[in-house]
Symmetry: C2
Subunit: 344 residues, 2 copies
């Protein structure tokens, strides 16, 4: 596995040396073409929030038009993802640029949007988790190309796949109902109303909003970036691949990594407001996303392995699968570190 | 896992860039202090064979003095290893420097010594295999240092360890008896007699033996090195860690790697005759040794996992263990490639 990720890292390394540098303004302080240099801080922030709010409301309408019909199920699912995507961005911008806003209002709406995106993301997460596990089982039990005769997948792999499919499909269905319930709830309608307001006017607060954008917004983004750098520096050095795998303690480091993932996402949204996208952060973020999916997949394999009265061959295949996904976790951490601390 | 081996590889890389260069004589053609430059080819080869034959006979005497008593069991085991060590070296030198020798005699004795070292190595191999698997199980089920409360090793790990201990100890005991039987056999006594002759006189053949050492011996060593380089270049690119793990087809590449391991050993013995030791080849050889032990350990975990009527938790732990050892195999291949093809 390692070489595969080596390549990724090497490929990225060239462009990502900047990943952990603070977001200092470019020489002359002139940003890219978004004109954030000339506009007032409030206008820049409001413009971003307007766009995201419009995206959220559009996704909401699309979902209302497509939900509940088999033909348009894919569109409905896409709408739910767009809805969550906009919700996360609004929540992130409200959080990072809180000093420019009515703090109480910003905190409340940010929290509600976090709740919403959490509820909406679960169905999709269960789906990708199952896809990942079935793909891994396929890879683990694929006959080798140049000698298909060599070895046949044991019944274990097939049974393990069926077991995972049963368990994760059930969770996915529950998540689907929970999402629909949330979208029909009064709590959601209150959030939607607040976002509708956001689409037209943003309750800007304090004199900061009228001052030039960069001197006001950049320190907020810097603060978010600082929190990310601190969290990365505080990441515990893991005990190495597969240590503790059989104790259930292996994943006790995952939480710190998931937190880094969220902080990195906040920084990326903060940069979007400034019209500054960072490729390195995007690449690092994808490794953290892979980290999270693999860790969740390993958990799913482990809990499937604890199902009572399964055949030994099934349990054996789930053990191999669990180890395989924990190695994916380890590989994602390594790839992230290679991007974050590029070799000289 | 990868970073650990990165370190190894990086550490070695400096000194091993020479690993695959042909064994061209140093400038001036003057070798190191062994005087191979001045002596006749036959004397140099005979000197090496004398020393190894003496080692073998000494080990044989030590084994006769120590075998069969519990107090001296460790000495007896050490003697068996020394015996095999000398047998491999004599066999290798007879094979590589065959042109200087009575070919029929050399081929026969080399084959007999290969048989002998094979029989003698098995007991030790089963022992190291069990040690490796129990160490891995310990690592996989160790409570994490800074939070011993987090997770307890499941009964699966303990049961898996007991099962492996039972199965591999049985194999080891059988290998022990087979080794004792071999050492008492007429076939072995014939080999020992031939080696005893070798300790005093080597049946050198052809005029080559009287010519200066380097021009005669080096081409033989070059030939062995060329076969190694070709075998490494022909190594199949594996399908990546854990592919086919559940089909039993995963290990179909292992054979080519084990062959490289034997060819590399032949080159090292050929260099010993010339008084030229190569650190890089030694390091690469240790990675191939680790490759072989891990591959055999993975097989042992897999076959233990096929034991009828084991508990699912036991099978699960064996599946994790199997995957862990296949990753060790993959890591050893990577480490070997890093030494063989050092980064520029």
């Amino acid at each position: 596995m390692a070489p595969r990720h080596d390549l990724t890292a090497d490929g990225d390394r060239a462009q990502v040396a900047a990943a952990r540098r603070p977001l200092v303004p470019p020489p002359g302080g002139e940003p890219d073409g978004t004109g954030t240099g000339r506009d007032a801080a409030g206008e820049v922030l409001a413009g971003y929030l307007h766009r995201q709010a419009a995206d959220l409301l559009r996704a909401l309408r699309l979902h209302e038009e497509t939900a509940g019909s088999a033909e348009t199920a894919a569109d409905a699912a896409g709408a739910v993802r767009s809805l969550g995507r906009a919700a996360r961005r609004i929540s992130g911008a409200l959080h990072t640029y809180r000093p420019l806003l009515d703090a109480g209002w910003a905190d409340h709406l940010a929290a509600e949007l976090t709740w919403l995106s959490g509820v909406l993301s679960r169905e999709y997460a269960y789906g990708t988790r199952l896809d990942r596990l079935l793909a891994a089982l396929h890879r683990l039990s694929a006959p080798s190309d140049d000698d298909p005769a060599a070895g046949r997948p044991g019944a274990g792999a097939a049974r393990a796949g069926a077991l995972l499919e049963r368990q994760l499909t059930l969770s996915r269905t529950r998540a689907h109902s929970a999402a629909l319930q949330a979208l029909g709830s009064a709590r959601f309608h209150a959030v939607a109303d607040a976002v509708a307001v956001l689409a037209s006017e943003v309750p800007l607060d304090s004199g900061l909003a009228d001052r030039p954008a960069l001197p006001v917004l950049r320190p907020c983004a810097e603060h978010a970036h600082r929190r990310l750098v601190d969290a990365v520096d505080a990441l515990p050095m893991g005990p190495g691949a597969l240590a503790h795998t059989l104790t259930g303690a292996e994943d006790r480091y995952d939480g710190a990594w998931h937190r880094v993932r969220c902080l990195l996402r906040l920084v990326r949204y903060a940069q979007e407001v400034l019209g500054e996208e960072s490729t390195p952060l995007g690449v690092a973020g994808r490794h953290l996303q892979r980290h999270r999916t693999a860790a969740a997949a390993a958990d799913a394999a482990a809990s499937a392995g604890r199902t009572p009265r399964i055949a030994p061959a099934t349990a054996y295949a789930l053990g191999v699968l669990h180890a395989d996904q924990r190695h994916e976790v380890e590989a994602a951490r390594l790839a992230f570190h290679r991007i974050w601390h590029p070799a000289p």
